[in-house]
């Protein structure tokens, strides 16, 4: 039986992971870019990013660019792996329809 990942299954977190996994490995996206892409609020995105970071699925990199604080987000190797497993689980549920 397929194993769905409960952390990733939440709709906003699922979309966050999908966006991050779509990037080339090693690339990271700006927080505001991700917010605009997913059409969510700062607070909502921040809360879900914390949960994914706590689970070790994403890495959050707070830095300064031109003396301004910036936050970059990337999927970790573990995050990419569990996301692929989650997608495989969804596909197996669909096949068993």
């Amino acid at each position: 039986m397929a194993n769905l990942n409960e952390t990733i299954h939440q709709p906003v977190r699922l979309r966050i992971m999908a966006a991050l996994v779509a990037l080339e490995a090693g690339n990271e996206v700006d927080f505001s870019y991700l917010r605009d892409l997913l059409e969510v609020t700062d607070g909502n995105l921040g809360a879900h990013l914390r949960k994914l970071e706590d689970a070790g699925y994403i890495a959050v990199n707070k830095t300064f660019v031109d003396r301004k604080p910036r936050t970059f987000v990337a999927a970790t190797v573990a995050g990419r792996r569990v996301f692929q497993e989650h997608v495989a689980a969804l596909k197996s549920i669909l096949k068993g329809k």
């Binding site: 194993n3 769905l4 299954h9 996206v29 870019y33 990199n61 596909k91 329809k97």
Partner: protein, 189 residues
């Protein structure tokens, strides 16, 4: 944790939509910008070279080079603000140095091989530029590796098989092809 097949289908559709939107968003300012800007420069520059008198062509290419550099810099800056690769950022200075060396080696090659006609100089410059793009693609972004290869093939075909139409071929097929490819990736990918 159990969900219904229809819910699984909805989730997969949502994943697909976000991944496509992300790729499209990135593609619209990455490789596509390079392709479209270079395509415009080639189209105007080479078609002008085919038809305009020699004394005007220098001004056309100078203007196009300035246009391409400014546009490429602005878009590169915008792109860097949204998506970045820390490993790439760390090697950016080395990449810049690589391009300087490549320009130096290209200039030296032309000087050693001199006298050359305009077509030979053009082919050498384009070949060195494609080597540069290929190397950058292999080192920094594998997705950008493939496009210098068909462009190189196009240049060599026109140089060896269609010498009389060389500049026109380079402008319309090379430049126009890059613009079309850039637009296709931006709109359809």
């Amino acid at each position: 944790m159990d969900i219904s097949p229809s819910e699984a289908e909805e989730n997969l559709a949502a994943i697909q939509a976000v991944m496509q939107k992300t790729r499209h968003s990135i593609a619209s300012s990455g490789t596509t910008v390079t392709l479209i800007v270079t395509g415009i420069v080639w189209l105007v520059g080479f078609v002008s070279t085919q038809f305009l008198p020699g004394e005007i062509i220098g001004y056309v290419w100078t203007g196009l080079s300035i246009f391409g550099t400014i546009l490429g810099t602005i878009w590169g800056f915008r792109m860097g603000r949204r998506v970045r690769n820390p490993a790439v950022a760390a090697t950016a200075k080395r990449a810049g140095l690589y391009w300087l060396f490549l320009v130096f080696f290209c200039t030296v090659t032309i000087a050693v091989a001199w006298p050359l006609d305009g077509k030979q100089v053009t082919v050498l410059i384009v070949l060195f530029a494609m080597i540069g793009h290929l190397a950058m693609g292999l080192l920094l972004s594998f997705a950008a590796v493939w496009w210098p290869l068909p462009i190189t093939a196009l240049v060599l075909i026109s140089y060896f098989l269609l010498p009389d139409l060389f500049y026109l071929w380079m402008g319309i097929l090379g430049g126009g092809g890059m613009i079309a490819l850039g637009l296709y990736i931006r709109l359809r990918w």
